[in-house]
Each structure stands twice: as C-alpha cells, then as structure tokens.
Amino acid sequence: MRPASPSTAAKFRDAAFLLPVAGLFLLLPPVINLFTAQTSLFGIPLIVAYIFGLWSALIAIAFWFSHRLNDPEPHAAVPPDTSSPGR
C-alpha cells in the first residue's frame, strides 16, 4: 500500500465519515421521494433502479476507500494477540 501523506490520509478519513452520512441522506425522505415517479429505466421502475444503483455506488466507494484509510494515531497497530495459538 502506498503510504499516503498526512493530509491525504486526513482527507480520506473525512470522506469516509461523510460516506454513510451521504448514503443516509440520499436514502431517506425527502430526497428519496424525488424518485418515486411512475417511470421506468430499461423496464426497471425508477425507484428500484435508484435504490439499487445508489447501493452499488456506496459499495464501490467503500471499496475504493477501504485501502486508503490509515491510522493517524500513534498506536496504530492492533496489539498482537498474546494468547496462544493452541487455544
């Protein structure tokens, strides 16, 4: 993984915080009511296409973020498990 500069990493953390907030905003009324028109997209009702499309987009962005989020804290590493392997 490419080590990101401190400011880039901070940017990703901010963006990662905004992602679920944005998702929530787009999935709840009033925004979602904008897509309730009785039309369809390639035969799929608009609202179905919207929800599943948005869902896929959120997953794609989360995937993109998942490798770019890094710890700013000094004790970044997970403490190694001190218990025996033969539990």
Partner: protein, 911 residues
C-alpha cells in the same frame, strides 16, 4: 415431487458436511496454521448470519405486503459497514484490547465491570432472542411441511404447525448438539470459534447461492428478464403511496442499530474478529453480500403473485415457486438455503447467549456462594464449560417451547423487527460508553431498564394480541381503562405505526435517562478509568490500566486462581511468558500491578470482565485507584492530541517553506546563470569593437608607409567601431537605469503619429542601404497619447532596425499598419524575413538571452527587453504576434487619451 426421505437424507448429509467443515476449521486453527479460516472473506461471510430465514423466506413476504420496505433491513447495515472506520473499528479495537466476550461483557466492562449491568443486558438479550430462535424453528419446519405435503391445498393454506412439533424438537436438538460440540470446546481466547465460523461461512454461501438460483429461475425461466417481471400486474406492490414515511426512516435506523447490537452480530463482528484488517474487506464485501441477497426479492415476490394461486403464503414463495413448476432440484436448493439461514442464526445466537449466561449469570452466582465450593470443585473451567453447554440446551429448549406455545399465532411473523427493537435498547449505553467519558453505570442501568420495559409494554407484549400478560382489552383501551396508558398509543401518541411508536418511546426514554443518570450520579473511580480506556482506545497503549490501579497479591495466590480458570497448562504458560518479559528465569513473575492487570484481562477473556474482577478482588489487598493519575493521563492524551495536531501543522508549514525556498533557490540559480551569461556576452560585445580599434590603431602607429586612402579607411573603421562601442555602453546603462526605475522620462501629451513617423523616416537610410523597403499602407492615424517621444521613437527604431538587419529575403519588405480603437493606439510592424525560431519566441523579451545575441550583428539583444520595458512604462504593450507564417510581426499598443488631436497635422502618410 420430493419425498420426505429425500429431504431427510439431504438435510442429514448437509449437516454432516457442516460438521466436517467445522471440524476441519477447528483443527486447522488449533494447529496454528489458521490460513483461510482467518481470511477476511470467511469473516465477512460469517457476518452474513444477519440474514436468517426471516430474511431468506420473509423478505419476499415483506415485499408482497409492503413493497420496497424489505430493503431497509439491508440498507441500515450497509450504512454502518461503509462507515466502519468510525464505529465498528473502535468496537473491534476495544474488543481486542479488553478481551470482550459478548455485548453484555462490553457494556459491563465499560461501566466499571458492573455485574448487575451484565445481568440486565443478558436478560434483555435472552428475551429478545428466544422468539427469534423460535421463528427459525418455525421456518424450517414449515418449509419441510410445505415440501412434503405439496398439493394445491397446502400451497394456498400453509399447514398448521401442530404435527411439526416433534420435527421441530429434533431440529432444535440437532442444532444444540452441533453448537455444544463446536461452540464450547474452549472457554477462552476472546471466545473465538473457528470451526463454527467456517461452517457459518459455508452456510452463507449456500443461502446466497440458493436465493440467487431461485431468483434467476424466476426472472429468466418464468419470465423474459427483469423488464418483463416489472411489467407484470403484480408489480403494483411497488406502488404504495406513502412508502417513504416515518416507518421507512425508523426501519433504516433500526436495522443499522441491529447490526451492531444483536448479540449474534456482536459475536461474529467483534468477538470472532481476528484482526482489524478483516473489517477493511467486510466494509464493502458485506454490503455487497446484502445487495445480492436482496436483488431478487422483488422479482420473486412479483413472480409468486403472478404464478401461484391467490392466497398462497408469500413467506414461502421462495420454496413454492419452484415447486409449482416441479423444479425438484431448485426446491431442494431453496430448502437448503432456508435451512442454512435458520441453523446459522440459531448456532451463533445460542453461542453468544450461552457465553453471556455462563459468564454473567452463572459465574456471579457461583462466586456468591461460599468461595470454597468453587475451590473444591477444583476447576472453574469445568463449571464454565458445563454451564455453557447447559445454557445452549436451555436456550434452544426455550426457543422450542416458545415455538410450541405461539406456533399457531401470527405473532412470530413480526418477531424479527420486535427483536431488533429490543436489542436496540443497548445502543445508548453502547455508543455513550465508547464516545462519552462521563457516561456512568447508573445512567446505563436506568436507560436500559426503562427502554426495555417500555419496549415490552408497547411492542413485545401487545404483539401476542392478548395471549401474554396484557389482555386484549388492555391493549385496546389501556390498563384499567386509562386511555393515556394504551400500549400502542402511549400518552396519546396516536396515528403512528406500532413499531415507530414503540421505538420512539423506548429509545427516547432510554437515551434521556441514560444521559440524565450519567450527569446526575458521579462515576466510580473504576468507571472513570474504564471510560477513559474505552473512549481513548486509539490513544491508550494496551494494558495501561496498571498505571492507575495499585494493588498487591502473592504470585502463588494468583497462580491458583489462574489455573482454576485457564487450566494449569495455560496458566503456567501465561505466568512463564510474563516472567520472561520481566527478565526473570523463574516460572513466576513478580506480582506487579502490570502483571495483575494483565492477568485480570486474560481471565476476562474467559469469564467476562465483571467476574474476572470479582475473582481477582478476592485475593488482592490494598487496592487503590489513582484518580489523580487518571486525570493526568487524560490531560496527557489531550496534550498529545494537541501536540500531534501542532506537529502536523508545523510540518505542513515547513513543507511549504521548503518548497518556497527551493523555488527561490531555483530562481537564484537561474538568475546567476543568466548573470554569468550576461557578463560573458557583454564581454564579447565590448571586446569585438575593441579588437578592431586596437588592431587598426596598432597598424597605424607602426606602419610608416601607409597610403593615405588606406590610412583613411582604417581610421574610419576605428571611428565606426568606437561609435558602436558607445552605443553598446549606452544600452547597458539604459537597461540598468530601467531596471532601477531611474531613467529620465519626458512625458507629455502628444500625437502618437509624430514620433512614429519620425522613427520610420530615420530608418529609411538603413533600409535603402540593404535594399529593403518600408511600406506604409495608409497614413498612421492621429490620436493623443501620454508619452515620451524620444523613448517611443527608440522602440520603433529598435524594431525596424532588427527587421531590416535580419531580413534575408530576396526582396526584403517591412510593412507598417496603424489602427485606432476607442481606447487604444495600435501599430503592427511585420517583415517577410525568416522569422524567429519558435523555440526562441518565448525568450526574445528577456535580457541576457542567448538566441538574439547569436544572430545579432550589433547589440547584445538588450534592445527588445528595453523596448518592452519602455512600453510598459508608457502604459502600453509590446508583443510578438504569433500567427504569422512568414516573417516576424510586432505589435505596439498605447492607451489613447483622445482620438482627434486638435490642430497638429501629422506629417505621416507620405511613405
């Protein structure tokens, strides 16, 4: 048509497969090569235990009844997982650091290792989960009945569960057996169950595969693709008017809460996690799993409504749709999918609950009975294992009994969301615990208790429709007829969906009491300490609490205690390792505060924080918790945070300064090189005329017999060259003055055409000598400008001279055009010469530049730089026009004061 025997054999074979996978997984984990067992993919798949038979079968039913509403159950968890960095990661970190064994353990540990809190959470979890387990039993038995008794009648009217009691019992017993075998092999190591996780992961794949198979069959075999499905009449289920109302919002939040608070989800996500990086993948892979699980829910719902007879049970569409067209294999697959969903939920839930029961209810009771009774029994381990096994059996028995009692009522169908709302009561204490240091056990207890009671009163009990505790009339009219206390319209809050209503009252009261209680009651020292350790988990090194707790105990006492709980081999290992860490050769470490804290944490991994603390407390003496130290560390972390922010800011500033310096340095280096260049060129340009002057004057001095015309010629060369030298020196001085802004200027209002024409005239001589022609298409326009006429003339002469000197064309021409706009006087001087090579174009106005010097026969290329500077001073511009194919074109502009100069008649235009 599938025979009962086939179903039976297949189920058995499938269960055998699960046993084998669990066995292999366990063995691999125990041999130390965890490999695929610990892969993030297996971890993610195990989280999908979220999708129970309630979603496998029930999502379609929900879609038939409420359209898109089913999606909220998956969207909430999606939002939580894509925001993993902020909540899940912290939970997992705390889980690792404090060896948390369950959600009850987490809450209890955070609030001062409180036993009563652990009991409360355990009770709520058991009460909330038991009906959920019953629901799974019902789903499996119903699915078997539907397949076995497959005839049109049953398709329309699902059979009652009565004859299924026996079957359900054996199913429950089988699950209990599996869980006991693989779920209670060990009691420790953060309660990880690798074998179970492996089996759950396999089941996750089976249910996903089954649902997608049925979905594809419906979309592409029963219909002509998605567009066709959605064009059916039944697609009207999507058209409920107020789909996105308060219930939609509430369900989204509720499912988001459930994915954190459900005991089984906490078990797989936090307790079974073996490394934070597993979350990295789960953050997108789990939402993707949920997306795939829900992709075909609508098509199956619409397909079922279209194909199956009216009145068919939509909760069984996943099964009855393939049955209606005799797709036996698909039916079997769907059955296995449902079976997987149900069994995985029951197994994980009963493991989670049994851990809670044994750690938080059985252990405290054992501890409270005289100490000797445990001592005599020799090994707490055995007690724990036995109590856990019994708990599993007990939980499944409870589920089975619940199933028997309520199997006939429709109450089960709604139990999924009711369970969600029940465990949602953990949320305030959980979130407050990991983000708010001031949160106290009193607040948590008050909030949890009130929330739980309100949930029971407004949602859980009314769901029995009068069969349990609350009579139908109480539900309808309130206790003793007091309308204000009607369970589903509390304090007159009517017109709400019962779920939204219950969720509002229970969570609001819970939160208010939690915050109020926390503010009202002072936290105990241990609560303060745990609060700091939890909230600042990313900034506190592991095992830091010994800095705050001082206590003493003998190593022998500690060892006796440890081997009771961990077993003697494990206890010896723990002691020896710590002794090694202390640099001792002995088997026993020094019983320092650090060691006691380490041991307590280690024990907590087996029996929960509260019990571990209780047991340690028995053998230590003189315990003090240093609040001063705690305050100091709190300050320290605050300072550390400030400091690290400062450092980051400083380093950014430094970086910027360094960048600035680098840039300045580059400029200086460039300037220095230009200066060297300049001096070297000045030297060249001065030495060249000097050479001629010296050489010819020496000739004149030495040679007596020089003919007079020849001597005259030599003298004229000397004269010419000295003039050239003077001109050069003037230019250098000019440039220098211009640089310092001291050149003497004689600015006044004048007709721009006058100096321009004068300049042109003065160049005609030179032009004629080289055979060039200066062409003026039309007289230059007149306009008043503010300018120094000599300087303006200098600029034009410079450009014209260049144009004449460098023009190598056979018929050299220089063309001058003048133009007047409202604000600007503009003249263009173009030639038909070779033009300026494109690579030199950007530099021609720079001093010291090489290109001009090389091609010039006189001057050192300062001319254009000076001209440009002059025009700038006059408020105008001098630019090289780039659009010429042939030759060079310069444009001079000057701001105009007034278009028509009064009487002055320009002498221009006779060219």
């Amino acid at each position: 048509m599938l025979s009962p025997n086939l179903i039976f054999v297949t189920s058995l074979a499938y269960v055998a497969l699960l046993f084998m996978v669990a066995f292999l997984g366990d063995r691999q984990a125990r041999s130390g090569k965890a490999s695929w067992i610990q892969s993030p993919v297996v971890y993610t798949l195990s989280i999908s235990v979220y999708c129970t038979s309630w979603t496998f079968y029930g999502a379609v039913g929900s879609a038939v009844r409420n359209g898109l509403e089913f999606a909220t159950i998956y969207l909430g968890p999606t939002l939580v997982f894509i925001g993993w960095w902020f909540l899940l990661r912290k939970l997992v970190r705390i889980g690792h650091m404090h060896r948390i064994t369950s959600i009850a353990d987490l809450i209890s540990s955070r609030y001062g290792k409180s036993t009563s809190l652990a009991v409360l959470v355990t009770l709520i979890a058991v009460i909330g989960t038991t009906p959920y387990i019953a629901l799974q039993l019902k789903a499996v038995t119903t699915s078997i009945q539907v397949i076995v008794a497959s005839d049109p009648g049953t398709l329309a009217n699902p059979p009652s569960s009565d004859p299924a009691n026996e079957m359900a019992f054996w199913i429950a017993a089988g699950m209990a057996l599996f869980t006991i075998i693989f779920g209670t092999r060990t009691i420790d190591a953060n309660e990880r169950h690798h074998g179970v996780v492996a089996a759950i992961a396999l089941e996750a794949l089976v249910k996903l595969f089954a649902l997608i198979a049925v979905g594809l069959f419906v979309v592409f075999a029963l219909a002509d693709g998605p567009a066709d499905i959605f064009s059916r009449d039944a697609a009207r289920i999507l058209q409920t008017d107020d789909m996105f109302d308060a219930r939609w919002v509430a369900l989204t939040f509720l499912s988001a809460i459930a994915i954190i608070c459900l005991p089984r989800q906490f078990q797989v996500t936090v307790v079974e996690n073996t490394g934070e990086d597993q979350l990295r993948m789960a953050s997108w892979l789990f939402p993707a799993y949920l997306l795939l699980m829900s992709l075909f829910v609508l098509p199956i719902a619409i397909g079922g409504l279209t194909v199956l007879p009216e009145g068919s049970n939509p909760d069984m569409f996943v099964l009855t749709l393939p049955m209606s067209v005799d797709q036996d294999f698909l039916v079997l697959l769907a059955f296995l999918g449902g079976f997987s969903s149900a069994t995985s939920m029951v197994i994980v839930a009963s493991i989670a609950l049994s851990t809670m029961i044994s750690n938080h209810i059985v252990m405290p009771i054992a501890l409270r009975t005289p100490w000797t009774s445990i001592e005599r029994s020799g090994d707490v381990r055995r007690l724990l294992l036995i109590s856990r096994r019994i708990s599993i059996g007990f939980i499944l028995l409870l589920g089975y009994l619940y199933f028997r009692l309520s199997g006939k009522s429709d109450a089960l169908a709604a139990i999924g969301l009711i369970a969600f709302a029940g465990v949602a009561q953990f949320l305030p204490s959980l979130l407050g615990g990991i983000y708010w240091k001031r949160a106290t056990a009193s607040g948590a207890k008050l909030g949890l208790l009130a929330g739980f009671l309100l949930w029971g009163y407004t949602l859980f009990l009314p769901s029995f429709e009068g069969d349990l505790l609350l009579s139908a009339s109480t539900i309808e009219h309130g206790p003793w007829g007091i309308e204000l206390f009607r369970p589903q319209a509390l304090f007159g809050l009517t017109g709400q969906d019962p779920l939204v209503h219950a969720l509002f009252w229970s969570l609001a009261t819970n939160t208010v009491l939690f915050i109020g209680g926390s503010l009202l009651f002072e936290p105990k020292p241990l609560e303060r300490l745990q609060g700091t350790l939890f909230v600042d988990v990313f900034r506190t090194p592991a095992g830091d609490e010994h800095r705050f707790i001082q206590r003493s105990a003998s190593a022998e006492d500690l060892f006796i205690l440890a081997q009771r709980i961990l077993g003697s081999t494990e206890a010896q290992r723990v002691f020896r390792e710590f002794a090694e860490g202390q640099g001792l050769e002995s088997d026993f470490p020094q019983p320092t505060d650090a060691f006691i804290a380490h041991l307590e944490r280690r024990l907590a991994g087996s029996i929960g924080a509260a019990s571990a603390r209780a047991m340690i407390s028995r053998i230590v003496s003189g315990e003090t918790i240093s609040l001063d130290e705690l305050m100091r560390i709190a300050d320290e972390t605050a300072q550390l945070m400030e400091y690290s922010q400062e450092v980051e800011k400083k380093s950014l500033e430094l970086e910027a300064t360094a960048r600035e310096l680098r840039r300045a340095n580059q400029r200086l280096t460039l300037l220095d090189a230009q200066k060297d260049d300049f001096l070297s060129q000045v030297s060249h340009e001065v030495r060249t005329p000097m050479t001629s002057i010296r050489s010819f004057s020496e000739i004149l001095l030495e040679t007596r017999d020089l003919s007079s015309p020849q001597g005259q010629h030599f003298l004229s060369i000397i004269h010419e060259e000295s003039l050239r030298l003077t001109r050069l020196l003037d230019e250098i001085l000019d440039m220098n003055l211009m640089d310092r802004g001291e050149a003497s200027w004689n600015l006044h209002e004048l007709d721009a055409a006058v100096p321009l024409v004068r300049a042109i005239e003065s160049c005609r001589g030179l032009a004629q000598s080289t055979g060039s022609e200066i062409l003026l298409d039309q007289p230059l326009p007149s306009a008043l400008v503010d300018a120094d006429p000599d300087r303006l003339q200098q600029v034009v002469i410079n450009i014209l001279t260049n144009a004449i000197k460098h023009n190598t064309s056979a018929k050299p021409e220089i063309r001058i055009t003048g133009k007047l706009t409202d604000e600007q006087y503009e003249i263009e001087i173009s030639d038909n010469g070779p033009g300026i090579p494109s690579h030199l174009r950007p530099f021609i106005f720079e001093k010291f530049q090489r290109g001009a010097a090389q091609s010039s026969t006189g001057g050192i290329g300062l001319g254009l730089a000076i001209s440009k500077e002059i025009m700038k001073r006059l408020g105008g511009t001098l630019a090289l026009i780039d659009d010429r194919r042939i030759g060079t074109c310069f444009r001079i502009t000057l701001p105009v004061k007034r278009a028509q100069p009064q009487p002055q008649e320009p002498e221009a235009g006779q060219a």
